[in-house]
């Protein structure tokens, strides 16, 4: 267990460095990005004097390093800000205030995160089922019609952008067949049934994109395992094909699949931009793209950090699971 603790400690330190670097990169990149932040925030018809006032208020006149220092301070000790009529406190870790909406970025993230996580978790279950199922079938029935068909379907998932799949699905399933409602996010805590019902289509659309990767990985790992000596052992002992495939070959695919899954999960938390946009799910990705477009630096930095956090965490979890799944692996 001390080994695990050491691993966690090392990973946490690494994650901190990574996140720190990410925040610096985002700060610099969005500093040089075009767009007069104060003018955008104030409105296009604002007078130069007003724009100047707004810029003052957002500390846009301060040098970059000072603004970054301010950001770091907020993270550690929080930040006080004025609403005009009163002074509010944004508790640590404070990621600052949105230029656009004046909301605390941490609060904004907390409201968006459940949506993104709902989307990604559900989609994950589906892509695992679809992907691994297809992979198993195609490794088993290698070269047969079923395999070709399944491979074709999953590849179509990769080849077709989500905004095409999602829209066509929505038109057909919700509009014409009326099998499902047009998706509209309902919080899990409000109504779990409606939550699932409304997210079904987004889950499916997102899963369809990812499934192919899992199918390919599962298939490759299983074929690899099937070529290994221990499979020969079990065949030589009369163990049935079903058990060889389902118990031994699939077990070989387990580790790579959880690893890829963790990787994609982390990425999808912020990466499902198109799915969120199309289905009108108010998640991290959608908010982030909006924030990028209006150069809302605090929101961009905050959300990119959250995404980075999930990527780092997911990868660490993958490595732990990997080590648990395959005891030969040493955690470093």
């Amino acid at each position: 267990m001390t080994r695990l603790a050491g691993f966690v400690l090392r990973r946490a330190a690494g994650a901190l460095i990574t996140l720190f670097a990410i925040s610096v990169i985002v700060y610099v990149v969005f500093y040089v990005t075009p767009g007069n932040v104060a003018q955008i925030t104030c409105g296009p018809r604002c007078s130069p004097a007003q724009v100047h006032q707004v810029a003052e208020q957002l500390h846009l006149h301060d040098p970059l390093y000072e603004r970054y220092w301010h950001f770091l301070q907020g993270l550690v000790v929080g930040q006080d800000y004025s609403t005009g009529t009163s002074v509010e406190h944004c508790p640590a870790p404070c990621l600052g205030l949105s230029y656009q909406s004046d909301q605390q970025v941490t609060r904004l993230i907390l409201t968006k995160l459940p949506v993104s996580l709902s989307l990604v978790f559900g989609a994950m279950v589906l892509w695992l089922v679809l992907g691994v199922g297809t992979g198993v079938l195609s490794a088993w029935r290698r070269g047969r019609l079923t395999e070709r068909l399944l491979t074709g379907i999953t590849l179509a998932g990769v080849a077709t952008p989500v905004f095409v799949i999602g829209l066509v699905l929505m038109i057909v399933v919700c509009g014409e067949l009326e099998l499902l409602p047009f998706p509209q996010y309902v919080a899990f805590t409000d109504d779990p049934e409606q939550w699932a019902w409304n997210l079904l289509l987004p889950w499916f659309s997102l899963a369809l994109i990812e499934a192919a990767a899992f199918a390919r990985l599962t298939r490759a790992a299983m074929l690899e395992t099937l070529a290994e000596d221990h499979i020969r052992t079990f065949r030589a002992y009369g163990v049935g094909e079903r058990s060889v495939i389902g118990r031994h070959a699939l077990r070989g695919a387990f580790a790579p699949v959880i690893a890829l899954n963790a990787n994609n999960f982390g990425g999808a938390v912020g990466g499902a931009v198109l799915t969120e946009t199309l289905f009108g799910l108010p998640g991290i990705g959608q908010e982030l793209v909006h924030a990028v477009n209006v150069v809302d630096l605090p929101v961009v930095v905050g959300m990119v950090l959250v995404i980075g956090f999930f990527v780092v965490i997911a990868n660490a979890v993958a490595d732990v699971l990997y080590a648990v799944a395959d005891r030969r692996v040493v955690l470093t």
């Binding site: 104030c42 296009p44 004025s82 509010e88 199309l278 009108g280 209006v294």
Partner: protein, 572 residues
């Protein structure tokens, strides 16, 4: 206005850029066929109206909203001194009293405007609305924290340019007087005959000082209208309104307020909104949209379906898409070159790129073709349907470009139908026939906006658009052509850098008029006169076509906003 979201190209297509994005309001189709769509039954109170929008109802604070005529959703919560007339067509472009007893009483040269509040006006908590609250509401809009509104108050009120709002400047703005609880007097630094139009904007909403929470006020603004905010999630992502029981229909002739509850949902993809409205299932049967147009693809489908076609509201908002020239840059300093381009433009392919003849009407005048703008028809450089290349070549020869000309057209890369690459390409294609080689310079939206509105970086030849802050020539022509509105160190909208004494003088003269009909005529004449300088090439005026759900009744679409007015809609 706030920048429209670039999130989805279709979102941008839906939200008609400049002045409308924050939520315009309005009423019935020109041809008055809207009533037929709602069926023959009369509207009744009750039910929930759903609003499906692309853009969130951001900054739901009367100080921060940039609206034309008080907006659509905002107008349900915020009453203003005056408001727009909730009638179909041209009648809807008139100003009518709201909180005030009339549309304002000017002094002789229209520099002092006096309003009296109606009796019995109450907030959602039952307290009385006072003139001081209206004054405070206006003062708030000067605070840097609450920026976002239209520039007129700052420009017009005496001392407005230097006032920093009530949080910094406790003394208040002296040019607004409230001699008693029901009277409010505005002192302007020059004559402004269109002040009643300005008083429709949400900055003229009363805000009780004791309830002011600064930047957090938007989470729960105190209602003076028929509905109050029950919840406002994530800066307008979802806004739920319910009846304000202290609102009395007897003090409000404009808002019908049939539904009991209004549920505004946003962040939806525009094609999804249209699919949902077309399907009209469940709650969507009682749904409308205030910001999403039918796209060309959807229009192709809708026109083939009678049931759907009957559920389309058509409207016109004062709006013009045009090519802008910067005459300080060669070769656009040469009026013949500008004229040649005006002749060469192929408006039919531009209109197609903008969605076809049902969604865009070719424009030869800068002013929108509506009566309230004083529209005077003219076509100074007749290009016909698809351009007059011969005439263009001839002019180019005269200008010394007999061997043709290579120029750069700047446009935004965002895929909306106003400054979109497709329109730029259509122009490129048409000018080719006249021997003009056009190179396209597509910029990202923010970059584009910064570039064209900065006199230092303004390109010579670019796509632009302008919308009405209210349906009159004033806010349409003055910011673009008034030489005194050229801004050297900030956002400049006089992109032609026109500083013509006669034009400036005429603008001042019209502003003195308090007879709005008379003023309109002279705006029309001025438009034609400015048009002779060929500083712009008007391309088209957009047409709004919007679907609504099956249960929607009492559809009113005015020429003021061009879209269905949700204060009139009933779902039962």
């Amino acid at each position: 206005m706030r920048q429209p979201s670039l999130t989805a190209r279709r979102v941008a297509a839906a939200s008609v850029g400049l002045v409308l994005a924050a939520g315009a309001a309005a009423c019935g189709p020109k041809d008055n066929d809207a009533k037929g769509a709602g069926g023959d039954s009369t509207p009744h109170k009750g039910g929930t109206l759903t609003v499906l929008n692309s853009n969130p109802q951001q900054d739901f604070d009367p100080a921060r909203l940039y609206t034309s005529g008080g907006g659509n959703v905002p107008s349900l919560v915020f009453r203003t001194l005056t408001t727009r007339n909730r009638e179909n067509g041209a009648a809807g472009a008139e100003v009518v009293p709201d909180l005030a007893t009339d549309t304002g009483r000017p002094n002789k040269d229209a520099t002092v405007w006096t309003y009296t509040l109606k009796k019995g006006l109450k907030y959602e908590d039952g307290t009385a609305i006072t003139a001081a609250d209206v004054k405070y509401g206006i003062e708030r809009s000067f605070a840097a924290e609450l920026s976002g509104g239209a520039p007129y108050l700052r420009d017009w009120l005496i001392g407005g340019a230097d006032y920093e709002g009530p949080y910094k400047d406790k003394g208040g703005l002296d040019s607004i007087e409230t001699p008693d609880a029901r009277t409010i007097v505005f002192h302007l630094d020059k004559p402004e005959g269109e002040f009643p139009y300005l008083a429709t904007q949400t900055q003229f909403t009363p805000v009780p000082k004791a309830k002011d929470t600064g930047t957090k006020y938007e989470e729960h603004p105190v209602s003076s209208g028929p509905y109050k905010v029950v919840s406002n999630e994530n800066d307008g992502e979802r806004v739920v309104l319910e009846r304000n029981t202290y609102w009395s229909a007897s003090t409000d002739a404009e808002r019908k307020a049939y539904p009991d509850r209004i549920d505004v949902r946003s962040g939806l993809d525009s094609s999804v909104i249209n699919q949902r409205l077309a399907a009209s299932q469940g709650a969507d049967a009682a749904a409308v949209t205030t910001d999403t147009n039918l796209g060309p693809a959807e229009l192709a489908k809708v026109t083939g379906d009678k049931e759907l076609a009957a559920r389309v509201g058509t409207g016109h908002f004062g709006y013009t898409n045009y090519i802008a020239f910067n005459p300080t840059i060669k070769p656009f300093d040469n009026v013949k070159v500008r004229q040649a381009i005006s002749y060469a433009v192929d408006r039919s392919s531009v209109v197609n790129a903008a969605g076809g003849s049902a969604l865009a009407e070719p424009a030869t005048t800068f002013l929108p073709d509506q009566k309230s703008f004083g529209h005077t028809p003219y076509d100074l450089f007749p290009a016909g349907r698809s351009g007059n290349a011969a005439k263009a070549r001839q002019l180019l020869e005269e200008a010394g470009y007999e061997n043709g000309l290579t120029i750069t057209l700047t446009h935004s890369n965002s895929r909306d139908f106003e400054t979109s690459p497709e329109i730029a390409t259509a122009i490129q294609d048409a000018l080719k026939k006249a021997g003009i080689t056009v190179e396209l310079q597509g910029l990202e939206e923010n970059d584009y906006s910064d570039t064209i509105h900065d006199v230092k970086s303004e390109p010579g030849f670019f796509l632009a658009h302008w919308g009405a802050d209210w349906p009159s020539g004033g806010p349409f022509l003055a910011p673009i052509f008034d030489g005194r509105q050229i801004v050297k160190d900030g956002a400049n909208f006089n992109t032609g850098l026109l500083n013509d004494k006669t034009v400036n003088a005429e603008i001042d003269a019209i502003n003195k008029l308090t007879d709005l009909d008379a003023a309109a005529k002279r705006w029309g004449a001025l438009d034609k006169k400015i048009g002779e300088q060929a500083l712009t090439v008007p391309l088209f005026h957009p047409v709004y076509k919007r679907l609504y759900g099956q249960d929607i009744k009492n559809v009113v679409i005015s020429d003021w906003t061009g879209v269905l007015d949700i204060s009139q809609v009933a779902v039962k």
